[in-house]
Amino acid sequence: MNLYFPVTTLALLFFYHKCSCELMGLYRWRDKPQMEASIHVALLISFSSSQHHEKIRNEGGPSPLALEKQNRQSIHIHGNLRSKQKQKQKQKQNKAVMGEEALKIHIPEQWSAAADVITASVAASTTFICGPKNSGKSTFSRHLLHLLLTRHKRVAYLDSDVGQPEFTPPGCLSLTILDKQTVDMKLQVQPERCFFFGDISSKRDPEIYLTHIFALYDHYCNQFHQSPSNNVVPLIVNTAGWVKGTGYEVLVDMLNHMSPSHVVNISISAKSKNLPSGAFWSQDGDAGAITLIEIKSALHDSLNRSVLVHKDSRHKRDDSIMSYFRQCFSNDMKMSSSKEIAQALAAHPPYEVSVSAVNIKHLHCEVPKAEIFYSLNASIVGLAVDSEGSGGLPRCVGLGIVRGVDTMRRILYIITPVPQNVLEDVDVLLQGFIQIPTCLLQVHGCVSPYMASNVLPGV
């Protein structure tokens, strides 16, 4: 109904759309939406009026969200997000009506066009989405995912953005198979295959990083690419925003290995930060069979970008880890803030596993053998299974917090939301540089010894 918002409102709405998209990405894989980043709330307040319109408008349409309780905050967001996608489409139809100023928000039309090109291809498409930080790769990926799911039963999603992955906590590289139901209902998805890289960027070990990505891609090729034509599983490859230096080389290697059907290169207004235009990955500059789509970031300059762009990625990661471990508890338990989650986790009975039953490995550095527990205590580990099926790489089933080490009994105490039957196969603990959120360590009355209070300032 309300298609003619004042332009500024629309622009802001779109801005919010992006923001919520990004945040949704973070929260997607958990099914407890109570925990909200403060920005959510803030935006909710500022947009509550327009949201109200949205909701009314949405009532007629079949909303998968109707299944969820309406009193949860993030549902509003989700609803808002989806309705804005609809709105975007309508907007496209009505663009003649929009005034001259509205050109600013015509960018998404470019996005839809790009997405349309990809969805139109009949064969199993492989779409490679790249671009600098905060250009909207994840948002576009999600948009594309939704569109693809209208045509295909299942869509594969290879997430190589190891710092802020969509369906897993940070530090993981994963291939996830999604179907309409899981996406619509925001069910928690278990990745089809997951590796624990143990860092938030590929910079420490680009070779291993690529090995993992290729293993995931090969797994997709073997299992899903060759499926019969009525059951095609297209692939979306989302990438990290590191597009300079080694990051660029990693991207090129990935592109050359995968030779996708489509490459989406999203550029932002700061030209120096973008990937080169054209078929930058090929030696002769010829894209060959690959369809290259170059689009602009949805976020327009006239907006105060810094609010979102420079949002603390550390904070995002911590939130993401917290909501991952929130899954240790049932949905019914009222827990909204990370403080409450941390409190509950301190009291949560952990799993115990004998030191001899697992192989402890640090992914990025050598730990002196005698000091392994000094390194391991109170750290986040990837819980992995050493199996032949994954090409010698231990596949990861989830993350755990080594909450205590009992050297006398030779037992590790580990907190993880991974269910026991899955856990039973876990025989490798992979340590990396995924830092434990400090809010977990400073629960009131339960301050971890690793939180020191007398550290000299500025050191």
């Binding site: 986790l345 009291a347 115990e352 390194s375 080490v405 006398m408 039973e424 971890s448 209070s453 550290v455």
Partner: protein, 580 residues
Amino acid sequence: MVVEAFKEVTNSEVFGDGNYKLVPWISWDEWSFVRESLFSSSVSSIDFALQRISTWRSRGCVPVIIEVTASIVETQQKDPYFRDGLSGSDLLAENMLTMLYCMTIMRLVNGIVEKTRNKNEVSIGEAADAIGIPRMLIDIRHECSHRDLPSLRLVRLASTKALDWLKAYYWDPQKMAFPYPGDRTATSAKEIMSKIRELAVSLDVKQATPSDSPVTKTKRFKKQINKALKNVHKLYSSHPSEVVSILLEFLLKAHESADMTNSVQLDDWKPLIMKLSNKEPDMLLSLLKEVVHMLETARADPKYESGELKPEHKSGFHGTEHLSYLFNWLVGNLKDLKSSCRKIITKETESLAKEKSLPKSTLINLLEKCLTVSSVSNSDHLASAASVLAQMAGYHTLVQKLNKLASLHTPNTNTNTLGEVADIDLESFYNREEKFIEQAANAHVLLKQKLLKRRKSKEPSDGEVKRRWSVVKSWKPCPIGMLSCDVGSSGVVPCLDIVDDEQGEDGDEKEEEKKPCGKREAECPLLVLDDSEFKKVKCCEEEDGLLLQDVTNRLMIGGLWKNVTQDEVMNMASAVRILV
């Protein structure tokens, strides 16, 4: 004393809560130990420090200043100029050595200066000047990144200067910055002593003052007591186990000297204990546990009567009688506390156990131990304490039996079996066990059969007896990185060494707790004796180098030591009830 108190307050205000920072070391003791080792002249100490710092690195949050210090020391360790006895294969070519020095110096300047510098406004040189980095280091950084490699002699000199600066800029001030420099435990023990003594003195004064003294005077004493209480409470939150052991010391003294004139009676302490327990519901439990532990130790090794219990106090051994009296007294307090401030405890525990009273497992644990001890000492105090405990734990049948038992005054199978689980000295435990087996052979045979049956019936249903991953059955909230213990809210700092003779400062702390005769809490991780593995805990702090074998969680069944879980013990306990 007043001055001291003031100092304490300011200390905790400056360094108190807030401003926490994630660090890779588990305690400042570990940090201090690394600091001392790093700057020591012993090669093995230095190696230890370097190794520990590389472990810290693997945790990902080590301050760059520590990393840089380690790099410089490590490079010096490769330089024959600083270290004798490097063999041919260890020697590096001169320019390699120079490059190592250059790199560490570069990382020092960049890593530390960058943190303090506001880019675009101040040059590296100016920023370095501001924090007093020797000019030589700045020049070397410039030289080796943009010009020729400096000479080895220069960078060598620079490395020494750099270390001096690092010490003055970070290591020494940091050492001064945490509240208990030096031996933390010793200092804090002293402090706790003084605080509690203050409390005792004020009590003394209060008692000495005739009740008809002016109101203002009484008020002043009240104020004084309150202040002292507050201090003790503050200390308890930071050093629970120390406070408990020292407080216990005072209580015992109060009781022992009760018959002498002009001293504080035990009951005078009651309001104080109650007040403290209101704030820290765990404290009473800790006290109880400590007393039981003392009783056990006292009985397990009579030789200790002549020896000293705690090196810090020189107060010697306390008679079992006194201890049991104190135990009973404390249990009485616990009961009163329970009725008076049930709410607090409920709030504390409902999250984990959903129980409406004190943590049951803890009570049962205490009860078991109490029964064990009483089985030998046959003290009326303990028996009555046990029945109160049983009542609190909700074992009404047991209460009846205990009452009967008390009237009969004979050893009873019930007591025996429950007693088996307690951790006491191996030898005397063994002897007593033999006696019990004689006494209650039938009961044991039955028990054995029951246990076997239970195990058999469990095996097929469970499929796999040994699961790799299992959820811990009972867990008390404790900080991440610590081990949960059944008493006390704080948890235990774990000992992380794999090899026993390798020690970090925190390792020592742990071993101190393990002392069989010490007053520290004994809730450190229980040692399980596998068939395959026989681990000994070395008490290296003990002057006599006593070797202690912990027997917790083991039960002698059919003449063999078997591991038993808490669950199995509970099963047995219930089975016993049926038998009696």
